[in-house]
Amino acid sequence: MGLFDGLARWLGIKKKEANVLVVGLDNSGKTTIINHFKSEEYKNHDIVPTIGFQVEKFKTKSLSFTAFDMSGQGRYRDLWQAYYRECHGVIFVIDSSDKLRIVVAKDELDALLKHPEVQRKRIPILFFANKMDLRDAVSSVKCSQLMELENIRDKAWHICASNAITGDGLDEGIQWLTDQLKDVLVKK
């Protein structure tokens, strides 16, 4: 971190920057969630399935985010690990209405948690139990039980039910993540 950056930050001119990795199965709503945080002029109105990954930037009151929106399609999931090293936090999006694939999401989460780059780091993980508006959706409590989140002991985590289309629940989640990241970034 350069001297000027430090100075600027000390003076409160420049916002802190955080890299977050947005992962989850395909169709879980990752792109829609990130789209929600983008300013009006950059908003995408027609969301198509992500190929590979996309880098998006957005700001909240105290943090500026660089989000790596990863594709959740099976053949791209091996890409995720390439970004574990750089990320300060993870957003894991779950389609809470796709009960059939919660096991698949859990399997991918287990692989993520087992990865050495993730294991040696103190990164917060934010879960969105997305699509809570759908009739078949399970509650965030049930979702965290199915994902066995209580077994995550060495990472800070938080789960929010969300609706990426209306934005319900998203701000609460990002607020939690911001608080966590401020801690991490300050200690750095």
Binding site: L25, D26, N27, G74, R75, R77, S97, D98, K99, L100, R101, V103, V104, D107, E108, D136
Partner: protein
């Protein structure tokens, strides 16, 4: 290694290959493989599970469609379903396939989850006599008992009857028969076949969503090809026997192949333009319970607990014995990895996965699996749908990074066989020897041949000499057929020698014989050196004895010869050579 093994062994659920997506042991789904299919019927990328539920077999037959694990639609089916397929019947957008359910002589078509069309198979001609009988019934000129007797007779002769007649024959009570006849006699007699199996075949394009024909196998020993747009029969192919399982590939307008396994335990192949289906193409030694095809190989699960594999030409490639009877088989085609194998459900609550003839995985379930379908379900590529005998539904998902060890889990050569042995280098001696053999091969061969001939010559000479001198214990003289056997008893210094003589001729007695001995008189003393032999009756065994005393206490022994002589001949008839045992020295007390 061992820890991992015990883990997978003890908990039947934790597989390193499959994720347990869903399990409902009381889903009350009663169905079988042919009645389960997966398709994107709403063209939204979320593939649905379509099941024709047999219910109790009489009631509650339903076409059920699942979105994920939720039942999204149910349609009642009137009769027992025998097969369910999905196919594209038009070019309309969005590309939603239709569902076809085979039941009795009908195909019910559903579009957008609503009944759309019912197709009835062509009627079969009613037997003239049978028709006549019912006509007489109509005119009330026939008694129900006579009708019954006549129909009974026809059935006994093997005449295929209409469903009405068969139902009539089941009635026992006279009043019931009258009521039944009254009820139906005025409606025209019809004969309809029953669909036994159902498949699809692309019509003229190979694309995933190209228009497909329906392929229908029937109880009337026919295979029909149905046009999807006009619902007309495009082709009728007779078979020698009722088909039960179909495997269809190709395109109707181009080239196709229908493989049908039939009730006689034979598998027939129909190609575009084939006329002679009579020629049985594979004859199984047991009834098939499932037929699948991967590329050009045909996999058949049989009732004798075997999975058999054939080429498209009908040549058997291999047979594997499975540990229990097979309930159903299904192909696992995992496209993202290009992995194809055959799932075999067994009556011991296991599903075995065979990659060619190698068992690569075993799935344990809590009930016997009777129906299976592998394919895309929801948004997941590798989903395995299993229904159980108890009416349960199990859904497993193949792990994304799964690797199947393409070697047998059981049997096969032990690992040690592949370990290289530490073989020492060739020595100089070995190399020299090899060189010498290479250079002098001809000479060595000749020497060997010469020695071999010399050996044979010597053997022949000795044999001739033995014959000459009658030095063998069986007489070679045809006029005196005798057999001699001598044995020595005792531990010495006195031995007893017994000479057994037998006349081996059938009728001719031997006379004028005598026995004498040849021995070293410094070593042995014979009590009798000359034994006259009485007349020998054919077949009887005569024993002659003498005592021999060993004169030496040096522990030496020698051979003793026994001669059987004929008076007036100087060559013995037979000779026996006995090697005497070493005499024990007298213990002086």
């Amino acid at each position: 290694m061992s820890a991992a093994e015990t883990r997978s062994g003890s908990t039947e659920e934790k597989s390193d290959k499959w994720l347990d997506a869903y399990r409902d042991p009381v889903a009350s789904l009663y169905t079988f493989t042919q009645c389960i299919t997966l398709a994107d019927i709403q063209a939204d990328g979320d593939w649905k599970l379509i099941i024709a539920d047999l219910g109790t077999g009489m009631f509650n037959m339903k076409l059920k469609v699942y979105k994920g694990t939720n039942l999204m639609s149910e349609n009642t089916i009137i009769d027992l379903p025998t097969g369910v397929v999905t196919f594209y019947m038009d070019l309309n957008e969005p590309r939603t396939p239709a569902i076809a359910v085979a039941s009795g002589p009908y195909i019910y078509i559903y579009k957008n989850l609503r009944p759309y069309f019912k197709f009835t198979l062509p009627q079969i001609e009613v037997n003239a006599v049978e028709e006549d009988l019912w006509n007489q019934m109509k005119e009330s000129s026939l008694n129900v008992y006579v009708l019954r007797e006549m129909l009974e007779g026809m059935r006994a002769d093997g005449t295929p009857l209409t469903v009405r007649s068969l139902r009539f024959l089941q009635l026992q009570d006279g009043a019931d028969m009258v009521a039944f006849a009254e009820m139906y006699k005025n409606t025209p007699l019809k004969k309809q076949t029953v669909i036994t199996c159902l498949g699809t075949m692309k019509k003229s394009m190979a694309e995933e969503d190209a228009i497909s024909c329906l392929i229908i196998g029937t109880e009337s020993k026919c295979i029909y090809v149905l046009d999807p747009e006009a619902f007309t029969v495009l082709a009728t192919m007779p078979l020698p026997i009722v088909p039960v399982f179909l495997s269809v590939t190709g395109m109707f307008d181009v080239e196709y192949r229908i493989v049908a396994s039939c009730r006689n335990g034979c598998i027939y192949t129909l190609k575009r333009g084939t006329t002679d289906t009579e020629k049985s193409f594979i004859e199984l030694n047991s009834q098939p319970v499932g037929l699948e095809r991967i590329g050009k190989t045909i996999y058949v699960g049989c009732m004798d607990e075997t999975l058999q594999c054939f080429t498209s030409k009908g040549k058997k490639l291999w047979t594997v014995q499975v540990p229990a009877s097979i309930t159903t088989i299904e192909v696992l085609d995992y496209k993202t990895k290009g992995f194809k194998a055959v799932l075999v459900a067994l009556s011991n609550c296991e599903v075995h996965l065979y990659k060619e003839k190698y068992l690569v995985d075993i799935i344990k379930t809590d009930s016997v699996v009777t129906g299976m379908r592998f394919g895309r379900f929801g948004r997941e590529e590798g989903a395995l749908i299993m229904t159980t005998r108890g009416g349960g539904l199990i859904i497993k998902i193949l792990k994304r990074n799964v690797v199947f060890e393409e070697r047998d889990l059981t049997g096969g050569p032990p690992a040690a066989q592949n370990v290289k042995l530490n073989i020492p280098k060739k020595t100089k001696l070995f190399v020299d020897q090899t060189m010498r053999e290479r250079e002098n091969a001809v000479a060595m061969h000749r020497t060997f041949q010469r020695d071999l001939y010399l050996l044979r010559l010597r053997a022949a000479r000795e044999y001739a000499k033995a014959l000459d001198k009658s030095m063998n214990p069986i007489s070679s003289d045809p006029t005196e057929p005798l057999k001699l056997a001598a044995q020595v008893q005792g531990i010495g210094p006195v031995f007893k020698m017994t000479v057994n003589l037998q006349n081996t001729s059938l009728s001719q007695a031997s006379v004028n014989l005598l026995i004498t001995f040849d021995f070293d008189d410094k070593l042995y003393n014979f009590k009798k050196t000359y034994i006259p032999v009485p007349m020998l009756v054919p077949g009887l065994n005569y024993a002659f004895e003498t005592f021999i005393e060993c004169l030496s206490d040096k522990g030496v022994s020698d051979n003793v010869k026994v001669y059987v002589l004929k008076e007036g001949k100087n060559i013995p008839i037979i000779t026996g050579v006995i090697s005497m045992p070493v005499s024990e020295t007298l213990v002086v007390v």
